[in-house]
Amino acid sequence: MQILILLIQIAILVAVVLLHVAYATYFERKIIGHMQVRMGPMLVGWHGLLQPIADGIKSFFKEDIIPDQADKSLFLAAPIICLAAMMVSLSVLPFAKGWALADINVGLLFIFAMSSLASYGIILAGWASNSKYTLLGGIRSMAQVISYEIAIGLSLVGVMMLSGTLNLSQIVEAQGNSFFGMFIISQPVAFFVFFIAMLAETNRVPFDLPEAETELVSGYITEYSGMRYAMFFMAEYIGMFVMASIGVVCFLGGWYGPFAVPLFPPIWFILKVYFIMFLFIWIRATLPRYRYDQLMAIGWKLLIPLSLGNIFITGLAMTLAQ
């Protein structure tokens, strides 16, 4: 019985998240469109509201082209690895008090592990397509993920020190109900580092080098089409969602808000997540793209020292406070 309930919960979560992905693309297109004084999708449905569904149907029925020279099994597996890893990391997110599928003690570590696993999908996609641009995109992605994984991990060490746990729900509880309890107040540098590394981790502008369409055509997804392309797309948006959720959980006080909403407790959580996702889109509409070596330089020369310094100062402050 418990398993059945869990399965239903999983099904609901997956359905909701997939719907979220569909409409996240819609909102991204609309918001970027209006920021660029155009309209975005307008034709399918009222103001293009059914556009994501149309896109989904289209990519589902599109021909799945496999390049002749590609490594078939890996080529087919790569998007699935990518999507599965991202989906799994959803399970530990606490949407509200007790609203987590698996409230495990190493939640934060689990998410990092999964997001690194997702980058395997990207690397394999780049390699298995057997195309020059995809390989370059895969290599870029690998280097980027490795260097920014360190930065993102180090930036959260301060949070772990303050809350004393890796369990996501307990991190939220440690911040408490008040505005000043949020770790963004006590850890601004860590949040800054986390935010930038988050952009890089999810391959968003200005760090979208693996799929820079003007240099590498589309990077690792150049050879993909149809549903497999859509899977990468979904993985990217779920990745954005997961990263934004970690940001909310670790820095913005999770599901706590100015007042509690009785029937639907995750409302604050979702609002905060969408605020961060709006930031993602907003930044995409504004900034140019970094170069590969500059990206590396920022990761290693700026973010990692900053987060190390932040850990040091946090530790010092905690020792002094005791």
């Binding site: 970027i32 920021m35 660029q36 004084v37 155009r38 020279q69 490594d71 057997n130 020059k132 641009y133 370059l136 502008v205 200005p206 979208d208 080098l209 820079a212 369409e213 003007t214 240099e215 055509v217 995409r284 509409a285 504004t286 900034l287 140019p288 793209r289 970094y290 170069r291 590969y292 070596d293 500059q294």
Partner: protein, 405 residues
């Protein structure tokens, strides 16, 4: 991965660890059908070999078989971003060869459309350059402005891109008040719109990092590479044909030539932005000083150009019978050769004509700036990174239609 893959770039001995990429001819950042063969060491370009010719339409050969007026439409298709400027360049050259007088009003009109074309072209350059570097929003903001200019073109001559506006001896249509009102509105609002783009990219740290010290050419090197236009002026060489060989009404215009210093991508970017402001002020002067008078000279040749009798003209069979009747004998053509250069948005567009007294040019050579700029790519891209190559192609502002002719 057991199957052997054959790439059509043979690998030389000692170069086995180089990564070879054929960038283009279908690539989003090569602005058309440029192909660049790259030897990469990691992401650093060791050898860069541009290939052109995918858009070669043989204009020089075609021009030898068509009359001077008919060749005018070919120039629309050279630099299709600024067809007006090409039309003016062609007409200035032919008028010098055939000694045709141009009335003052049409000189002003030519200056006006030239500068509008410059603005349209530079806006497109800024748009694509920014898009190449990743700033997508600038792209669409620039198109907003460019659209206004193209609408004015459409109202002025009935076509947005391939204008065929000038005529030997003048221009084709006069402006109206409504066109000038639109233009004035554009001129008034343009500097503030330009500031918007600058807010987005001009001091942006990412933009600076991507452009400063990228694709640097020194002044002497740039002259040696035959760069012209803003690509040359970014290196600090004061060479603008509008000042050196004034044509149309540039004599009467009051403008300055912006010069860079460093010769990198950022300097060229700044040069073009300043040029846009100068163009804007030229447009304002044109509006204010537009003289009255006829728009086409009295000795301008007719559309059906005179051919000397007895010369066979390649026309279709039914047309041939009546040809002799329509052909008038006119002794305006002289034998000789002339080279006239004009400053189009991309650089120096020159037409070299050899005339042997016929109604058609004996030889027409088009000195297109993009062609020379692409050959400079080889030198400029060496040692930079793959992403820089995109920025360099963008900053050279090449149009393949002009390059391949």
């Amino acid at each position: 991965m057991s199957r052997k893959i054959s790439f059509n770039c043979p690998v030389q001995a000692g170069d086995e660890d180089r990564y070879r990429i054929q960038m283009g001819p279908q690539h989003p950042a090569t602005h058309g059908v440029l192909r660049v063969d790259l030897d990469l060491d990691g992401e650093i370009i060791r050898k860069c070999n541009p290939h052109v010719g995918y858009l070669h339409r043989g204009f020089e050969k075609l021009a030898e078989h068509r009359t001077y007026v008919q060749n005018l439409v070919l120039t629309d298709r050279l630099d299709y971003m600024a067809a007006m400027a090409n039309n003016v360049g062609y007409c200035e050259a032919v008028e010098k060869l055939l000694a045709i007088e141009v009335p003052q009003r049409s000189r002003y009109l030519r200056t006006m459309v030239c500068e509008m074309a410059r603005l349209a072209s530079h806006l497109l350059w800024l748009a694509t350059h920014a898009l190449d570097i990743g700033a997508m929003t600038v792209f669409l903001y620039c198109f907003r402005e460019r659209e206004e200019l193209l609408e004015i073109f459409a109202e002025l001559c009935g076509s947005r891109l391939t204008n065929t506006y000038t005529r030997l001896g003048g221009v084709r249509q006069d402006v109206t008040h409504s066109i000038m009102m639109k233009l004035e509105k554009f001129v008034d609002s343009f500097p503030s719109n330009l500031e918007e783009y600058e807010t987005l990219i001009d001091t942006n740290r990412i933009w600076l990092k991507r452009t400063i010290d990228v694709g640097t050419v020194g002044a002497d090197e740039a002259v040696g590479l035959c760069l012209t236009g803003a690509s040359l002026r970014g290196s600090g060489v004061d060479y603008d044909i509008r000042k050196h060989f004034p044509y149309a009404a540039y004599d009467f215009m009051d403008f300055e030539v912006p010069l860079g210093e460093t010769g990198d991508t950022y300097a060229r970017y700044r040069c073009r932005i300043e040029e846009m402001l100068q163009s804007n002020s030229i447009l304002r002067q044109c509006i204010e000083r537009m003289p009255p008078g006829p728009i086409i000279g009295d000795d301008a040749p007719d559309l059906i150009m005179p051919n000397k009798p007895g010369r066979k003209v390649e026309v279709d069979v039914p047309a041939q019978q009546s040809l002799i009747k329509l052909v008038e004998d006119r002794e305006t053509f002289m034998e000789g050769d002339v080279y006239v250069a004009t400053e189009v948005p991309k650089g120096e567009l020159g037409f070299y004509f050899v005339s042997d007294g016929n109604g058609t040019p004996y030889r027409m050579h088009i000195r297109s700036p993009s062609f020379l700029h692409i050959s400079a790519l080889k030198t400029m891209a060496k040692g930079s990174m793959l992403a820089d190559l995109i920025a360099i192609i963008g900053t050279l502002d090449v149009v393949l239609g002009e390059c391949d002719r």
